[in-house]
């Protein structure tokens, strides 16, 4: 009887020690009605983990699909393989690195050109040069191909199959450009999978916008709808579930909101107060462009070399200061003017309406990136004590190219995808810890 009592005391003591640390009960991990055992991600540069103007190993390791896949592990997610660059060629395509600030606070970025994975430059007659990268062989879950448009997934209307024209796609396939024949649509659906994410379509609007409406074109709205329907029907052919994302408003990114017309004009007026306006070559209608004074509604691209302003340029009317007269306007490629913006937005809205209705018809989860990024632009975002915004560098979400995201930005996007998946399929994929991911790296 006495030893029994002693045992009780020992057990009670152990229980007390065991109870020392509180543990909060959390719901049992569940995949809900979805099956995450083989998850694939379909998309463009954002999906590949592109950042700071390039695709490189550190960016790939923080891609949003890889973050989602990591979080899926606890609810039945399988291995997730990405076409990573080797550590010896970790800098991949090369990228921009922040190396300091000028006295006026403007950032200095420097291209990283060592340890690249570039294997050559292939001139294709009638197309131009294609940069080729070290081949990747092996299993693949992340099918993100920087630069790809939805328009190109079937190769229709292209001089050569798209795999020959895009070095990032070429590196994923056996064989070499220009002899490849696999379309992106066939490529991503070749191997069975149980769950997918799809964020294609950004470049169908973005590339037009980032070229100032001068170097690319907007994918026709009906073509977009038709191709998106085809893509989703192929991805869901065996009853797979998935999540899709809408196309962000191109004007929500710092690429268009950092160098403003007002700031340029203000800079000029400091040196020359008599200057009243800066001039751009703006879209009138159709393909007709005409010079006019710029307003705050016209957006200047991040890559605009501001030093050009005021430099004498040769015109039919003699040497005139660049950007300061209607005869020497800022080149079209540096400006997304008001009408171009309207045209882009009209297309993006049409794309998104189709994305949402097709997703709804197939019962897919939707991450509304359009609304999310517009809200971030308008209201900012606070996560775990960190204030985030759409501002260039200081905002913490966008990388140095002003279009793609930082690891922190990608982790936030991954969480938005996860929330959409959980809401749709009744799963409880745990959210990623945004505090573990950094913003822009400072020297």
């Amino acid at each position: 009887m006495k030893t029994f009592k002693q045992h009780i005391y020992i057990i009670a003591g152990l229980l007390l020690l065991g109870a020392c640390k509180p543990d909060i009960h959390t719901p049992k991990p569940s995949s809900g009605s979805a099956d995450f055992s083989r998850y694939i991600s379909v998309g463009n540069s954002l999906t590949a983990g592109y950042a700071d103007g390039g695709l490189y190993l550190a960016g790939q390791l923080n891609s949003y699909p890889s973050i989602i896949a990591k979080q899926m592990q606890s609810v039945g997610g399988g291995a997730f393989t990405q076409p990573l660059f080797s550590t010896a060629q970790a800098n991949g395509s090369g990228y921009l690195s922040l190396t300091g600030f000028n006295a006026d606070g403007t950032p200095i970025t420097t291209p990283v050109t060592t340890n690249l994975a570039i294997r050559g430059l292939l001139p294709l007659p009638g197309f131009g040069n294609v940069t080729l990268y070290t081949k990747y062989t092996g299993d693949l879950n992340n099918y993100g191909v920087p630069g790809i448009k939805l328009l190109y997934i079937t190769d229709a209307g292209l001089p050569l199959p798209y795999a020959n024209l895009n070095g990032y796609f070429e590196r994923l396939l056996p064989g070499n450009s220009p002899t490849l024949t696999t379309s992106y649509l066939d490529f991503v659906t070749a191997k069975p999978f149980t769950f997918f994410s799809n964020w294609l379509g950004n470049n169908d609007a973005l590339l037009y916008a980032t070229s100032g409406g001068a170097g690319d074109f907007l994918t026709d709205e009906n073509t977009f709808a038709q191709l998106y329907g085809l893509l989703i029907s192929r991805l869901t052919a065996n009853g797979q579930k998935g999540v899709v994302a809408t196309i962000p408003d191109v004007t929500s990114i710092p690429y268009f909101n950092t160098i403003t017309v007002g700031a340029i004009l203000g800079g000029v007026q400091k040196a020359n107060p008599s200057v009243q306006a800066i001039f751009i070559n703006a879209l009138v209608s159709g393909t007709t462009y005409a010079p006019r004074a710029a307003t705050a509604k016209d957006l200047i691209v991040l890559t605009f070399p501001t030093s050009k302003i005021g430099q004498p340029v040769s015109t039919p009317y003699g040497m005139l200061p660049y950007g300061l007269t209607p005869y020497s306007p800022i080149d079209n490629q540096y400006v997304l003017d008001e009408n171009e913006i309207a045209l882009t937005q009209e297309h993006v809205n049409s794309y998104n309406a189709n994305i949402k209705s097709i997703a709804a018809a197939k019962g897919l989860a939707v991450f509304d990136a359009y609304t999310f990024l517009n809200n971030v632009k308008q209201y900012g975002l606070v996560e775990n004590g960190v204030s985030l915004s759409s501002a260039y560098i200081s905002g913490g979400i966008f990388s140095l190219d002003g279009v793609h995201l930082t690891p922190r930005g990608y982790s936030i996007v991954a969480n938005e995808f996860i929330k959409a998946i959980n809401a749709k399929y009744g799963s409880n994929i745990p959210l990623a810890n945004v505090s573990d991911y950094s913003g822009v790296k400072f020297p």
Partner: protein
Amino acid sequence: MRKLLLLALALLPVFAFAQGFQVNLEGQKQIGMGHTGTGILQDGASVFFNPGAVAMLPQNYIQAGVSPLFYKSDFNPSGTSIQDHNADKIAYPFTFYAAWGPKASFWKLGLAVYTPFGGLTDWGDTWQGKYVLESLNLKAIYIQPTISIRLADFLSIGGGFVYNRGSVDLTQALPLANSSGQAGQAELKGSGKGYGWNAGIYFKTESGVTIGITHRSQVNTTIPNGNAIFTVPTSLASSFPQPNTFSSTIPLPAVNSIGFGFYPCSKWILAFDMNLVGWDAYKTLSFDYKSTTPALQDTHEPRNYQDAVSLRGGAQYKANDKLFIRFGGGYASTAVMDGYVSPEAPDANRVYVTGGLGYTLAKHLDLDLSFEYEHLMKRTQTNFSTQLSGTFETNVYIPGISLAYHW
């Protein structure tokens, strides 16, 4: 073409501290009885519990005690299965009391040194909320000379002056990654002082019930010249000038108490206390930096605390001439409203139970042991300003020991 890309870094380090950090560990005999002592007389700890009662002490006292405090918090970020535990660190709230007066005189002098407020939490530099808080070490040491006067056999009063020596050491990660991706850090470290007073009245009713009423004033503690240490990437050093200092004032709240003692038979004492803690005074927390930049501005964070109430009860049983057995417990409401909970001391309504043993080692020497277990209720919150969202739960374990010499 100047200033096209002005970098306004909206990365103000906003510090939040001081919440629910009242420490109620001011005497082992009293802790054993649920931390009651306003309406009863036990020993020199009455200098703290009710300066008005000191003159009624039958003897002179000199005593000291310590109550090592194990604060175990867990945070489960919303939507995750992560359990973030704070590090095992032990705080040492202590007490020292002296009460002296001529034998059978109508007055007594007292001196108390104690730690009525403090906090020690270390969540580490990898957890979800590291940009809100990594660690906090807050101490307030009150030094209180006291005088107490017996006006009649059944009535005494007393009052004291409080000098507070406070110190704070607070660290927080800054979301400014260097080239290897490592976050920056801010540390605020300094000490300061504040003044206050307290007063009490103690009386015995005809029925034998004893009653005490006390007021301990608010003590505004000002840290005039603390060090503000920022570790940031080199290219941002000019935005966070070093060396730099900060000033801040923390109101340590007033406490109004009423307590009752009952003596159903010679072996038993029953005690009840009620405290009203004037946290309502804590509206904002401000930090003023000596050197400010666009990235480093003075901060004024709303706190909007509410007054809190504690209800305490306890009993002492005299087993024999040398051994006393004590037990008690209580409930304290939180001062922190929904939306303001943060990880410095994740406050919530709390319940606690206590137990204690007293042993007379020698004719003039008491040894007292106490143990307190506190449970802070699970609380799921999204902080208004940091958006840190999740569930906090906390257990506190506090053993304690004291020695009292009396003559």
